[in-house]
């Protein structure tokens, strides 16, 4: 019996029919658990109110309707939230890419005194529980007249996005052979030209991955924007929560709102799904 099993394994790595069935069933079941709440959101968003509140579960809406979506869009501050969210997110991501790319260049391409310390500092920022900082952050921005402003929130987001951006781009830049720099400099490039004409284009995929990751983080944030700004200057996440507390049982429009607010991120993700997974984990795996 043992010998027979051993033979089997020489041909096919430690596999049995039973094991394969078990693996597949487990995978499917768990995938269902993971996806079911998302399906339920879609389902709820498409149902008229009486079906949402019904005690009999409707797995498919009997009378599908888009009313929930239109009532979400027409709700107070929705359009403002959408625009604010875009402005804050794009500002923060653009700034993080520029600042982060330069910092990553310095760390990846130069040996200098204090380099290790800077890397340590970058990593330590990620350890900070955000809420511990919210009181002093609020005070500082208040002093600078940046509360209730999109710029103030973007600044805080920039700070939050930087560690990840620098760390990931550092990995990408370190992967570009230094010989390329040297060859270009022998051909007469200045150092600045090397950065601009050689390293920047080659870091392209890394920039895309970090941009998308940054977009997701900034777009999804709500604690800071909620604390610093009044409702007219908040993003869609804060809008969603505001609506949840104000209209407790209007689940249909709320779920429709949740879908609309997640849409940009989900579309981004599906477009460059492979890149983001690599980018998201690049820093952690190498760290």
């Amino acid at each position: 019996m043992a010998a027979a099993r051993q033979d089997d394994q020489v041909l096919t790595v430690g596999r049995s029919r039973l094991g394969t069935i078990f693996a597949n069933t487990g995978g499917v079941l768990f995938a269902l658990v993971m996806i079911f709440p998302v399906y339920w959101v879609l389902n709820t968003a498409l149902k008229p109110r009486d079906e949402v509140m019904s005690f009999r579960p409707y797995f498919v809406p009997a009378h599908p309707t888009l009313d929930n979506f239109s009532s979400a869009i027409k709700a107070e501050n929705f359009v403002e939230g959408l625009i604010n969210g875009l402005v804050i997110t794009l500002l923060a991501v653009a700034a993080a890419l520029v600042v982060g790319f330069l910092a990553a260049l310095a760390i990846a391409r130069f040996a200098f005194y204090g380099r290790k310390a800077i890397i340590l500092v970058i990593l330590c920022v990620q350890l900070v529980p955000l809420l511990a900082l919210i009181i002093p952050l609020f005070l500082m921005l208040q002093k600078a007249n940046l509360t209730n402003s999109l710029i103030g929130v973007s600044l805080v987001y920039l700070m939050l996005l930087l560690p990840y951006t620098v760390w990931t781009l550092r990995g990408f830049i370190a992967g570009i052979p230094k010989e390329l720099d040297e060859a270009a400099m022998i051909d007469g490039c200045t150092r600045a030209q090397v950065f601009w004409k050689i390293i920047l284009p080659l870091t392209g995929p890394g920039l895309v991955a970090t941009a998308v990751y940054g977009f997701i983080q900034a777009w999804n944030e709500f604690i800071i924007v909620n604390t610093l700004n009044s409702p007219a200057k908040q993003n869609l996440m804060a809008w969603l929560l505001q609506n949840q507390t104000e209209r407790g049982t209007a689940w249909g429009p709320l779920m429709a709102g949740a879908i609309i607010t997640s849409l940009p991120v989900v579309i981004f993700f599906l477009l460059i799904q492979r890149n983001i997974a690599t980018g998201l984990t690049a820093g952690a795996v190498k760290g």
């Binding site: 693996a23 998302v38 200098f112 009181i135 997640s262």
Partner: protein, 300 residues
């Protein structure tokens, strides 16, 4: 070649370092300062020495919150890492082997997207969604799925289960990231190692414990630190999902939410800062301990 290096270094690093000094170092210094004051959040304040910390030691809610953080700190990473490891292994090495290379189970690409999907949703949205999943009457998703003869479960409104519900949501949201993280780690383990072991008659279980796990150790360590930090945070979910502000009866009270309540609702910003100081040292200690205890001598 060395000529002209420092202008670049200084120019490239001045902005991030300035931001860091102001927003992180500056903010922490201010938090430490405020923790020694009776500041309410408005107007002036007096220095009160260690009064806030003495009060903290005598505050039963603080201890409840701390205990909840520690429960989640212990349970959540173990469960998350175990499930994520299992599925990452399944997706990478779990399937048949063709042409001598092991493969993931059928449909691993689809799984990867499905598992990762919750990671895209904002915590705000996740919390709102699960408010519906845990709806305490028959219109809630889970209660709707249960047989009619059961009386509806209260979930978040039940003292005994509320914290567990929140932990489940956290695991649901985070697991995809770790499946992808571990998959990436497993992908960098050479196929020939698995092949050699398989030729020697190793089973899948042996492959997992003898090859995958040891070679993945560094990644696990990183995962543990990330998850631990998440366990110290928890603010978003508790803020949105908990019944009656960290209730019922403080059943979902956690430190970060105590900071928020004291600072913005009870007008005790000084006291809230003291909790912030405690949270700061707890997180730091945790991260340092994890990295130290789990450190193994590097092979290379």
């Amino acid at each position: 070649m060395r000529h002209g290096k420092y202008p670049f270094i200084i120019g490239f690093l001045v902005v991030p370092l300035a931001l860091y000094l102001v927003f992180v170092v500056g903010a922490y210094l201010q938090m430490f300062q405020l923790s020694f004051t009776d500041w309410s959040g408005f107007g002036g304040f007096h220095y009160v020495g260690f009064d806030n910390f003495v009060k903290l030691m005598e505050d039963p809610v603080f201890w409840i919150a701390l205990r909840h953080n520690l429960y989640i700190l212990i349970a959540m990473p173990i469960v998350t890492i175990a499930i994520a490891l299992f599925f990452a292994f399944l997706l990478n090495v779990g399937g048949k082997s063709r042409g001598g290379t092991t493969q993931g189970v059928r449909g691993s690409k689809a799984y990867r997207i499905i598992f990762f999907f919750p990671q895209l949703l904002a915590l705000a949205i996740v919390a709102v969604i699960f408010g519906r999943v845990f709806g305490p009457d028959r219109s809630g998703m889970l209660n709707g799925l249960f047989p009619d003869s059961w009386s509806p479960w209260l979930f978040l409104a039940d003292e005994r289960w509320a914290l567990l519900c929140i932990a489940v949501v956290l695991i649901w949201q985070q697991i995809g990231f770790y499946v992808v993280l571990f998959s990436a780690g497993m992908g960098s383990i050479g196929q020939e190692i698995y092949e050699a072991a398989a030729l020697d008659g190793a089973t899948k279980v042996t492959l997992f414990f003898r090859i995958t796990l040891p070679l993945l150790w560094d990644t696990l360590q990183v995962a543990w630190v990330y998850l631990g930090i998440a366990a110290f945070d928890l603010f978003a979910l508790v803020n949105i999902m908990s019944v009656n502000k960290g209730g019922p009866n403080n059943a979902t009270q956690v430190l970060s939410y105590q900071i928020y309540l004291n600072a913005f609702q009870n007008s005790q910003a000084g006291y809230a800062s003291a909790i912030g100081v405690v949270l700061f040292f707890l997180t730091l200690t945790f991260a340092a301990l994890t990295l130290r205890v789990t450190r193994r001598d590097a092979v290379a």
